[in-house]
Subunit: 241 residues, 6 copies
Amino acid sequence: MVSFRPSGRRPDEMRHVSLEPSFVKHAEGSCLVKFGNTHVLCTASLENQAPPFLRGSGKGWVTAEYGMLPRATQERTRREAAAGRQSGRTQEIQRLIGRSLRAVTALDLLGERQIIIDCDVLQADGGTRTAAITGGFVALHQCLSFMTGTRLIARHAIRDHVAAVSCGIFQAMAVLDLDYPEDSAADTDANFVFSGSGGLVEVQGTAEGAPFTDEQFAELMKLARQGATMLVSLQKEALKL
Amino acid sequence: MVSFRPSGRRPDEMRHVSLEPSFVKHAEGSCLVKFGNTHVLCTASLENQAPPFLRGSGKGWVTAEYGMLPRATQERTRREAAAGRQSGRTQEIQRLIGRSLRAVTALDLLGERQIIIDCDVLQADGGTRTAAITGGFVALHQCLSFMTGTRLIARHAIRDHVAAVSCGIFQAMAVLDLDYPEDSAADTDANFVFSGSGGLVEVQGTAEGAPFTDEQFAELMKLARQGATMLVSLQKEALKL
Amino acid sequence: MVSFRPSGRRPDEMRHVSLEPSFVKHAEGSCLVKFGNTHVLCTASLENQAPPFLRGSGKGWVTAEYGMLPRATQERTRREAAAGRQSGRTQEIQRLIGRSLRAVTALDLLGERQIIIDCDVLQADGGTRTAAITGGFVALHQCLSFMTGTRLIARHAIRDHVAAVSCGIFQAMAVLDLDYPEDSAADTDANFVFSGSGGLVEVQGTAEGAPFTDEQFAELMKLARQGATMLVSLQKEALKL
Amino acid sequence: MVSFRPSGRRPDEMRHVSLEPSFVKHAEGSCLVKFGNTHVLCTASLENQAPPFLRGSGKGWVTAEYGMLPRATQERTRREAAAGRQSGRTQEIQRLIGRSLRAVTALDLLGERQIIIDCDVLQADGGTRTAAITGGFVALHQCLSFMTGTRLIARHAIRDHVAAVSCGIFQAMAVLDLDYPEDSAADTDANFVFSGSGGLVEVQGTAEGAPFTDEQFAELMKLARQGATMLVSLQKEALKL
Amino acid sequence: MVSFRPSGRRPDEMRHVSLEPSFVKHAEGSCLVKFGNTHVLCTASLENQAPPFLRGSGKGWVTAEYGMLPRATQERTRREAAAGRQSGRTQEIQRLIGRSLRAVTALDLLGERQIIIDCDVLQADGGTRTAAITGGFVALHQCLSFMTGTRLIARHAIRDHVAAVSCGIFQAMAVLDLDYPEDSAADTDANFVFSGSGGLVEVQGTAEGAPFTDEQFAELMKLARQGATMLVSLQKEALKL
Amino acid sequence: MVSFRPSGRRPDEMRHVSLEPSFVKHAEGSCLVKFGNTHVLCTASLENQAPPFLRGSGKGWVTAEYGMLPRATQERTRREAAAGRQSGRTQEIQRLIGRSLRAVTALDLLGERQIIIDCDVLQADGGTRTAAITGGFVALHQCLSFMTGTRLIARHAIRDHVAAVSCGIFQAMAVLDLDYPEDSAADTDANFVFSGSGGLVEVQGTAEGAPFTDEQFAELMKLARQGATMLVSLQKEALKL
């Protein structure tokens, strides 16, 4: 049977995913994550100071920043540093990544420190934010292992895995892990973030065309859960857990 | 029975909602919307030019901007104009409002024009974005009526109502229409945008503490649908439809 | 006799003025001031820190910020937060409001604290800066009453009232309290700020067309004094003094 | 009799004023103006395009920009280009200079062109804005002579002189042309802009301490008129009119 | 004999250099260049419009932009997009890259088009600007081949190779291709850009400590020429020329 | 023989150079430097605080800022304060001036203080950065004399002179001290910074057209050394050393 998906995938088939930990030299943790042609470099940087709102609390923080190289996209995008401000899209994505990673981290174990997860898209083909969460988790895990290894903290502060994937209604069918051609033509587009134990961490669904029904949304969520389960396995493999 | 909600409301009880159309003099449409102590002034401004990416397409656009007066909040917030940039939160909210309103507008009926919905929070007590969508719809509807009334367009371009409400898990119970004390203590917090015919336009759920289950999420969605139905009735009343 | 003023007012007649104190919930002081169709929301926010140049002096400060909602005006104005900077006009106005309010406040009674008066124009029809000063005084007075009421300060730090009104030469006649149609056609336009005891706090006159004479200026000043006397009465009424 | 003024001047005595036209090589007009130790370099630049709001009107425009070299002041001031924005004070001053010069220029004779008057303070000792208006007039006049000389315009577009000076209440006495030590200690401080024929173009008075009376204000205005008359003579001399 | 260089290299020994063309999918040309642990991703983007100053000239332009991923460095560097401006260092480097590449491009053969070379440092260990020029040339060459291949231009617009390398006085000895430990301890530090035919395109030498002599400078230049010759061979190999 | 240089100078002839120390009143050091029609006002400002990276080190710092008055140039340049950012050219120049002056200053004798050298171009005709270094040295020297005179520091912290001049290949000939017409037509353009004892502090050469040879570069360096020797004599004269 011929697939209706531009990539030839089955509706419930993810792109080839790879997670390459320790990709760069200086960072306390790092991972090059690929969801097909979407490539994101995630690094974790440890800073010995918590953000101002936590001073004196004894707690730490995990935050994320997101960027795209100008020619990660089909058409070159203007460099945000040259434009002098980060777009709304950039800020929305980095807030999502930060919330997702904090949801599985025991912030009270960190001491007054901050871990910054930088997610920079080297090549984009849809799903950069879900790849960033999935790979960012690996970088964060490495950073926390570094902290226990150097006795900065007594216990590893990761409480569970976290992984993310997109789904959508493409040509009236629910499909898993949208690539760019699907993403730009989908009627509905949703991002799901799951914990390793299957709980929902974030859900974001948007009707691009007609509103969607509860049933359609449930179908997307089911597909997403399958994808996330697979991503968690890959994380475990990459981290040799 | 004593309520566990700080406001004394039942779990499925919304705050007192009012919609006051034509609140200001100059705008083509306007509405002061109140969800309890949350007060948002929404105006619709017609511009005779579409944004650059639509030039030559014959289509129009609806976009939104969001702001808070500095002392809308318990602690004064720094004026974004003085800070020189809009926060990530502001940008995220105005993107959500814009998408929600476009979902029910026939953009191809507008001609190459743009309608800007400004949503300015005069007083904040939780749920400003859902109030803004609900009241912004009224301002937009008025503006489109102005356009048909002055024969700028042949047919009214609203295809359906759109209304929004938040829900959350507060003290282990699903509750409708979070106010600020609930919002800041909730485990899970979700915003739902529904069309008048009951379709889902946007869904955004976030686990503030522990991840949530599919069942919990379904319960929130059900409560939200009840709230949205009521909001649509109030919109009809306000617009005398 | 038919008036030559677009509004039908006599030359020495102000627009209907109202002062609505305690308009919002969170601020230490607030007032919705209306000069006819010009509506400005003024709030006073107490901050427990003086600006850097006063550290160690034992004195406090009063400052003002001014903004316009985008559709307060006939044509929508671009949001300054989106533009990334405050215009020269905005800065000039907020400096004027701040100086005027400081002129009647005993700053040495405040301790090292700052009161910020935010003046946000909900609807503009000429004279927004004079309305802001007049209403800002009410918000400031409430804030100082709050401070004495909560024993933050021993004595109320207001030394006198302050109120402001514009005058101009319209169709060769001196008129009081210009509205927008007059303001945009006037030859000369002046703003006067008076203390409650009739002293001059600020005077700003500008020839829009031909230069004006000393006699014309004296006439404008006389009209303005009448207006200010009335505004001070309304302030007393609003504050139940 | 010993003067009470720090500089030893009589109450109605201006500082030594000099106007040096054609101070720089490239500009269409220029003047180094000195009011005692206040030195301002004014240049006039002709641009063959009017600002957007005049396109198609056939009219021209005169505008001004103002800056201070960082060490024009006793303490070094941060460079505004490095700070990334012009202060409120800078914007207020450049708006005043522009309005004053436009008041004596026949803008409809300019064609759709713009003249920019740049006023840069090389050394500051009080009264920089009044020096800038007085010297800016000379630069503007030269630029208009250049335009008639090169037949860009048929008639010289200057309709009258314009000159400015400050006055203030210093140690309970009205004095002319405040220098920095007087300015920083004055109770009241006012700037007056006069046309060559003695009309008022701008009046700005501010009570720094106690409010001032009508009589005091009239006295300041009288002193200022004397100073302006002298400045106009110096302009004529400098321009060989 | 034991080397005095931290890396164990001989004075005239470069780090291992690799050039990986076509590293990313979307760009018209690209190259991942590595000088040891310094890794820079260079992409070439073709735009069908020349910059404004060339409109109507029939000529094209080549420009460069430079950036560092936040954790390319030992300590995390703040993201310039978040800071809202590019540093002086960034601007200086991107101007150097642009000038160097333009020096070997026949701009009049491009038509009114622009090629943007983006150089993004994935990992930094000294010499990022020289690596960027060397790898940027490969990306530019690919882009021009794409343009001849698709008949956008008739002839390949590269006139010569261009390659760059740094030298310095480290522990009183002239050494080739400084890595970060050498760079931060060197007395003198110089960057040389050579054409393929051995001409000098750019020379920049800086005394970090004591001034240097003509003889020392000549020695650095000689070493640099050797390095550049080798880099040009690698470029030819990578491009299969 | 008729010169081929637009100014009629011999190839090795500098423009008329003058150094006028103590040009302004407030600064701890100042100098108006003229290289022909290039006029730069340099001031030295002492600040009683070192930059953050030196806190606790006991050392001081010298830095420079550079600006151009808008009409220093033939065509008016937009004011950087109005544009909201300093150009890459400005930043590159001010970094060069700062490095050059630091190279001859004993920073460890300054205590934790900073000296800021502001270089503002009043009139530009080529060579503004070399004039700024040469005149900036005079301002810096005066500031250090002020510091020893007031016993802030025990010993004068200048270790050697520093002076700068440009050279270039103009009409195939090496010439000294390019003016604007030469600079804009030169094939190669180089700036040299020498210490008083003849050492090289900075060398920057750029091929504007064809690459240049080692021999050409040596010739430029020789000419520059002659020019710098003369500039150092003028500095001594100006400072009465």
